[in-house]
């Protein structure tokens, strides 16, 4: 027997899909297909391989961008977190970047780097890096003082304190930063596709819109949301498993 929470989730999903179906039948707008039509298009595209091919295109700049952002971001974050000078030097840049609408830079990137893979990867990077760097540096800086003291009192070397205490203690927040960064990078990747060049899934969206094939368009959008939600939930589950001890907070709570 399903738990109450899960039952309600399924119920609300059904309600939503039902509402979608009804709205499509009314129709709310000529451009609003029914739920069933969209699902049909969705499975069709999976069936004829279009979906897979499109995602390969779309995910390429995303994956590359995220990997670069993760490595550079965590590295920079550690550096900034551990060194006062670099904190003073770099933190303001990333703080400004976090609050600012970085999407505005896209036209500039297109100008500078053309409409190919490079600019798309760059879009993903500028969207993802700030939160990764700031989370990492914040976590490192906020290592509980008593942990570091404990390490010192037991004669741990500077390297040991860093590797065995500071970084493990910071891991949950770093991982959360990665998750947020991937989220932001995803937005960047979609934005890049819709704005820069139509390839991959963005292409399906723009093309179907232009030929008024609304079920396909909605299906593509649905697939993006579905993928993003599934993937990020997976990351959250991994986070919970990896950090089961830390999830409860530090020992002195």
């Amino acid at each position: 027997m399903l738990s109450r929470a899960n039952l309600l989730k399924i119920l609300s999903a059904l309600v939503l899909c039902g509402a979608w179906e009804l709205a499509g039948r009314v129709p709310v707008s000529y451009a609003f297909p029914t739920f069933l039509d969209s699902m049909q298009a969705f499975f069709e595209m999976i069936g004829n391989g279009m979906m897979l091919a499109a995602y390969k295109e779309t995910l390429r700049p995303l994956v590359i961008g995220i990997m670069i952002s993760a490595v550079l971001g965590i590295g920079l974050g550690l550096w900034v977190g551990l060194n006062n000078f670099f904190d003073w030097l770099f933190s303001p840049i990333f703080i400004v970047m976090q609050a600012a609408p970085l999407a505005a830079l896209i036209p500039l990137l297109v100008l500078a780097y053309g409409i190919g893979l490079t600019s798309k990867v760059l879009v993903v990077c500028i969207m993802a890096m700030p939160v990764i760097v700031l989370n990492t540096s914040g976590a490192v800086r906020n290592t509980p003082e008593s942990f570091k003291e404990m390490g010192k009192s037991f004669l741990a070397s500077r390297t040991s304190v860093l590797l065995r205490i500071v970084i493990p203690a910071a891991s949950p927040v770093i991982f959360a930063g990665l998750r947020l960064g991937i989220s932001a990078g995803f937005i960047g990747a979609i934005l890049a596709e819709l704005k820069i060049t139509p390839t991959g899934v963005g292409d399906i969206i723009t093309y179907s819109r232009s030929i008024a094939d609304y079920p396909s368009m909605y299906a593509a959008i649905f697939s993006i949301i579905l993928l993003a939600v599934l993937f990020l939930n997976l990351l959250e589950k991994i986070e919970t498993i990896l950090f089961k001890g830390n999830q409860r907070g530090y020992v002195s709570d």
Binding site: S146, E149, M150, S153, F154, L155, A169, G245, R248, V251
Partner: protein, 268 residues
Amino acid sequence: MAMSQIKEAPNHTEVVGSDSAVSVRNITKNYGEVEALRDMSLEFPRGQLTSLLGPSGCGKTTLLKIIAGLLLPTSGYVEVNGKTVQGPGPDRAFVFQDFALLPWATVLNNVAFGLEMRGVAKSEREAIAEKYIGDVGLSGFEHSYPHELSGGMRQRVGLARALSVDADVLLMDEPFSAVDEQTRRKFQEDLLNLVQNENKTFIFVTHSIEEAVYVSDQIAILLPRPSRVSEIIRPSSFRNKGVDNIRRDPEYLDIVDDIWSSLRTYVE
């Protein structure tokens, strides 16, 4: 009824009996304008438990951390076994008030941490850790995580960790203040046995008068503003009466009362 020996001790203290494992000489510690410790000198007899007792702000934790080598004094020096303290060392081990356990490590790995930092091989340090885990009564919990343990159990892990490195001097910073009253009483009893059985010098910071009088061979009363040692008390007669009888011993009760009357004016 034997009289306890209470002595006034402004700047210079005479040690009764055994030699000093730790000597604190003219320690001053300033934080900017604030004088945390001023010209403090104290001796800690070998193999005994000395308490640093006083109201908040009297600098007792600061002094303990200076002895541990975690803080540097502004002036003055500390000698442990005749050698001047420059920083943390293998001759001293620290037990933390908030336990300072690594939340992502098992009890076994936490206890073995000190040994690991000293470069002891894995199988050896795990064996030593297991012994001390058993000594503090946590057998069976070697593979548990701190968040699965109660406060009292966590502090026992901290204690086992400090014992496992076999240091001469054990420094304890209000180790029982974060556990409940019943556990605290048990800890105090266990501590008496520990002091008897281990050949170590204990320095114990507390703000509880009863606790200090219960566990200590020597009590140094510290007062704030300016931080100074105002008295040294050596309870003598009830030490060997057995853990259950101490709290009703007349001398115990007298000393507790005396200390309270001299300290109450310092409570804000």
